[in-house]
């Protein structure tokens, strides 16, 4: 008699566990000779990160079908000799202590629909989840975790602009977590560039209601027309052309910039990350190995004073000291200090010092080669083009308003037109000004915003049509913000007139 294989439906359990002192205890050591150290760095990092978030309890779903992993199975693992399961386990992290009995009670209380005590308790303590794949050497699948606190102990500000909300269904509960998806490369379907691009797409595709490609989709799209080496599977990494191909295949457009100077790279990173676009950073380790990571946030200190005595403003991007990255060799939100590295006597490169969370242990130094940003097709105006106008406006403002003593600052970023309108309700505009902005000014889907500010807040914004190219003037409006000195509307009006833009005060 033959076995009736695969006829039964799987069973599922939800298991509540206290958070162990060492998370790697939960991960079985693979059979045989493990080529790299066990546990892998990603598991150790994950344990350290959720410990830092204050994790006390784990809830494990024993049978979880993950869209990304099952797509990897369909493309690659289903054709292996070993029978890889098509399902994963999912581990949820919570900040409060509770046990299996409490879990059962909370679930029972759902009966009848009126009791939200458990829902509120779980949501209040939820830190995120990690999908654990049945791949012996690379178990960390899609992982979405909360970010660390916005304000650092030293008073610096962390801006995680590329995070978004994820809805999670656990038992009968719907939980939300703000983060950006991370996963470890499996070296079968995906390499570092695949997972970095996958994270970047998670940030931007949702803004455009586009389906987020799985790592398998990315690898296939990247190798459809350009195949840098012999084979696409197992993945042997991607080059920048292939990243661009995969980006276009997902319905987005790739912006590629060479890394030329620390100042400029800071400006690009700040502008794109705070706009909700996650740049892929092409870096090179000091050993000369190409690697890709995804930038998720930045840490901002105090903008540095202007170094050119002829100029009357400062670039707020000079406040960027750290970029938070998803590094698939390490984990999510890894801290990377930005600094200038003297590569040759006359050549200073942007470098990253990648660190472990909350320690001074250096993990690695790397040189930044390029920044690749997947953006919606309607974002045609680049940050460089916005800054071309913004630098001149900041200098003009610093010259006109000498009372600010060279503290006038420049920021550039993108907003969705509807989001900018929503924010403008708090700008303190006149009724007429607000009406013009809300009802009479046609906005592009995305607007570029040049924000001219002083340390206490913005003076004015210049709104740019992001669907324009560099050839045409694109200023839509000059908009007064709260800290513009009274009487300065005349100067702002003169600027608006010169730019061919509406004046909104």
């Amino acid at each position: 008699m033959l076995d009736a294989r695969g006829h039964d439906y799987p069973a599922q359990e939800i298991i509540v566990l206290p958070f162990p002192p060492n998370l790697s205890e939960l991960f079985p050591t693979p059979r045989g000779l493990v080529e790299t150290d066990w546990p892998p760095t990603q598991i150790t990092y994950l344990g350290a990160y959720v410990t830092h978030l204050g994790c006390k309890t784990l809830v494990v779903e024993t049978h979880y079908v993950d869209r990304d992993y099952i797509s990897d199975v369909a493309l690659f693992y289903s054709r292996s000799l070993r029978a890889y399961p098509n399902f994963c386990q999912r581990v949820h992290f919570f900040r409060e202590v509770f046990d299996q009995t409490r879990w059962r009670t909370m679930t029972d209380e759902l009966n009848g629909g009126g009791n939200r005590t458990g829902q509120e308790f779980l949501q209040g303590t939820y830190l995120g989840f990690s999908v654990v794949r049945p791949l012996p050497g690379s178990p960390i699948g899609r992982t979405v975790l909360k970010t660390v606190a916005r304000r650092t102990q030293s008073g610096d500000l962390r801006e995680f602009g590329a995070v978004r909300e994820y809805l999670v269904h656990l038992g009968g509960f719907e939980l939300a977590v703000d983060g950006l998806a991370f996963q470890q490369q499996d070296q079968g379907v995906s390499a570092c560039a695949t997972t970095a691009l996958w994270s970047a797409m998670h940030a931007v595709a949702r803004k455009e209601a586009l389906a987020i490609p799985t790592p398998a989709d990315i690898t296939q799209a990247a190798s459809r027309y350009v195949l840098a080496s012999g084979r696409s599977l197992p993945s042997e990494g991607l080059n920048i052309q292939q990243i661009c191909e995969a980006t276009r295949a997902a319905g987005l457009e790739p912006l590629v910039m060479r890394s030329l100077s620390l100042e400029q790279d800071r400006a690009q990173l700040l502008s794109y990350v705070t706009s909700g676009f996650a740049p892929v950073l092409a870096i090179q380790t000091m050993q000369g190995m190409g690697h890709a990571v995804c930038a998720v946030g930045v840490k901002l200190g105090t903008p540095q004073p202007q170094s050119d005595p002829e100029l009357h403003f400062r670039d707020n991007a000079s406040a960027v000291s750290v970029v938070y990255i998803h590094d698939d060799r390490l984990g999510p939100y890894a801290s990377a200090d930005l600094y200038g590295y003297t590569q040759a006597p006359n050549r200073i490169r942007t470098a990253l010092r990648i660190r472990w969370p909350r320690t001074d242990n250096e993990m690695e130094h790397a040189i930044l080669d390029a920044i690749i940003v997947p953006v919606p097709a309607k974002v045609r105006l680049t940050v460089t083009r916005m800054r071309e106008l913004g630098l001149a406006l900041a200098e003009t403002t610093g010259e006109i308003f000498s009372q600010f003593n060279r503290t006038v600052g420049l920021n550039t970023r993108y907003f969705k037109g509807i989001d900018y309108r929503r924010l403008s309700l708090d700008f303190g505009l006149s009724d007429d000004g607000l009406y013009t902005l809300l009802c009479e000014l046609a906005l592009s889907r995305y607007v570029g915003v040049v924000e001219i500010s002083v340390p206490d807040g913005p003076l004015f914004d210049v709104l740019l049509d992001a669907t324009e190219t560099r050839a045409n003037p694109a200023a839509l409006a000059c908009i007064r913000r709260r800290l513009l000195p009274s009487g300065a509307e005349r100067e702002l009006g003169a600027i608006a007139n010169r730019l061919g833009a509406r004046l909104i005060v």
Binding site: V256, R258, T382, T384, R387, L393
Partner: protein, 68 residues
């Protein structure tokens, strides 16, 4: 049936006259325009350098990322 707005051949509503680029309306405005033009000239070297980042080479596009 109501008349459609902005059909082909019809002119879309133009921006108000005062927001069109034109000659300065006053001496004060002329002064601001002059400062803006000087500022544009001053920041040109920075802008030129930043634009160089958008010039891509085949070496860069072929950079391969495969660390693990």
């Amino acid at each position: 049936m109501t008349k459609r707005q902005n059909t082909a051949g019809e002119k879309a509503k133009t921006v108000p006259e005062e927001s069109k680029p034109q000659t300065p309306r006053s001496a004060e405005e002329a002064k601001v325009w002059e400062i803006l033009e000087q500022a544009r000239q001053k920041v040109k070297p920075i802008v030129k350098k930043e634009k160089e980042a958008e010039v891509l080479t085949s070496d860069l596009l072929n950079l391969r990322m495969k660390a693990h």
